[in-house]
């Protein structure tokens, strides 16, 4: 297989979504806006909301437990933990050591927190893969998790959501359920979306977040990867993008030559919103839950500021058995509880008692 990275890949994966949801129409009604129009324009019907006692660390642990169950390894053999988020609970004090301690993986692991907006989770996968390729570790844990923040009344408020995805990666061929064939990254200094140190909510450049930001980087990373791996859109069974809304990933897919059959299984934003660093990774979890052996997946994340990571993946025959272990992504969609806008403001700490 082209560019196959000497038997490195995924051996376990796990998704986590909190219980609560709020509908786009309720948020719109609070601001006297037309809910149906916004829902249609964004392609987001509802979004996930973390509980007051949940944060990126707790959600990352929940996803990691499922990934560990699927991987079936001795957790003390994990030699690296990297987590990407825009909502690490501390500005200084790593999320990963709390995750490592709660999971009980011991003390012997390489680790750091990562930030690159919504592509920090895929950056974690790249770093863990590099440690595996270098022979420094046998297994690593890569996580994308966020409790995304949107300013009340701002356009972002309709989509910013909470969730986590975790991947155990390894380098024993016989354990791999997904092979990482190759990956690449395309980056530039683009001020499309930012949150200054100490600010509670992010700011953004409105329509500047489209063509010059999301599309430029997503398309460039995907095109570079397909050139590097000598593949084209038709060679893939699935494609998963970062999902700030429904329209952007669909349009990017069409521009690259993908069809709806390839795009739809990983397009999850309509029911959960934009989970930032977990977005494309949760899309990947949704695809892995249904993929068959020897199917190809193109994964392309996007992080504001800006950059895209693209991965060429191939499932193995071992995936089918692992799909049956642990909680699957769709089970989180079935178990949910709707909240109103006041409870939403309370849970996001926009109002306090």
């Amino acid at each position: 297989m082209e560019g196959q990275m000497r038997g490195v890949g995924i051996i376990g994966y796990g998704a986590y979504l909190p219980l609560r949801r709020i509908k786009t129409s309720l948020i719109a009604a609070a601001w006297q806006k037309e809910g149906k129009q916004i829902e249609k324009s964004l392609g987001v019907k509802e979004k996930s909301v973390a509980g007051l006692d949940e944060d990126s660390v707790t959600m990352a642990v929940e996803a990691s437990l499922i990934a560990l169950e699927r991987a079936g390894i001795d957790k003390t053999k994990i030699g690296a933990v990297f987590m990407g988020s825009e909502s690490h609970p501390y500005a200084v004090n790593p999320s990963t050591t709390k995750i490592g301690e709660i999971l009980g993986i011991g003390h012997d692991y390489f680790t750091a927190d990562l930030e690159f907006a919504c592509k920090a989770g895929t950056a974690a996968i790249q770093i863990v893969t590099a440690f595996l390729l270098g022979g420094q570790i046998d297994y690593g844990l890569a996580i994308g998790a966020d409790t995304a923040q949107g300013r009340p009344g701002d356009a972002l408020e309709y989509a910013t959501a909470a969730g986590a995805a975790a991947f155990i990666l390894g380098r024993k061929q016989e354990e791999l359920i997904v092979m990482i064939n190759d990956f690449c990254s395309f980056n530039s200094d683009t001020p499309d979306f930012w949150r200054r140190s100490g600010a509670k909510y992010p700011s953004h450049g409105g329509r500047f977040t489209g063509e010059k930001a999301f599309f430029r980087h997503t398309l460039a990373a995907a095109e570079r990867l397909m050139k590097k791996t000598k593949t084209k859109a038709g060679d893939y069974d699935y494609v998963v993008f970062h999902m700030p809304n429904s329209k952007f990933p669909c349009k990017a897919g069409e521009m690259l030559g993908f069809n709806q059959k390839q795009i739809k299984p990983g397009l999850i934003v309509e029911e959960i919103g934009n989970t930032y660093a977990a977005s494309s990774l949760l899309g990947l979890c949704a695809v892995l839950d249904q993929a068959k052996p020897n199917q190809r997946i193109l994964l392309v994340s996007y992080g504001s500021g800006a950059g895209s990571d693209a991965f060429s993946l191939t499932t193995t025959a071992k995936l089918t058995k692992k799909q049956k272990l642990g909680r699957n992504y769709k089970s989180f969609l079935r178990k949910k509880r709707y909240i109103d806008y006041v409870e939403y403001l309370k849970l996001t700490e926009a109002i306090r008692g």
């Binding site: 006692d53 660390v57 707790t58 642990v61 437990l65 301690e101």
Partner: protein, 101 residues
């Protein structure tokens, strides 16, 4: 030593993490309407007694219980959660709560 004191958080949390992911049975529960320090934003919340095995019964806060008809003997599972709010500047105390299945 205050509840937010780093050494206390470090000592207490390590013991709790050991029961992460364990299942138990709900024995008794009550609703807290007048909370302890750091739990003000979570009111009302439930605390319960959970039987882990024949010898061990443990107390803890219940999560994901709204809208459910709680019954003695219901299965619960331990999940990671933030335990209390210690203000914007104190360290975060993570621990275990019990999710109603």
């Amino acid at each position: 030593m205050g509840v937010g004191f780093p050494a206390r958080i470090w000592r207490e949390a390590k013991k709790e993490y050991q029961i992460l992911g364990q299942e138990g049975r709900l024995l008794y529960w009550t609703t807290i309407k007048f909370p302890g320090e750091g739990y003000e934003q979570q009111v009302p919340y439930l605390v319960g007694l959970i039987r882990l095995d024949r010898k061990k019964v443990i107390g803890g806060q219940l999560v994901n219980w709204q809208g459910k008809q709680l019954k003695k003997g219901m299965k619960v599972v331990s999940v990671p959660r933030r335990m209390r709010a210690n203000g914007q500047e104190e360290p975060i105390r993570y621990g275990i709560k019990w999710k109603v299945r």
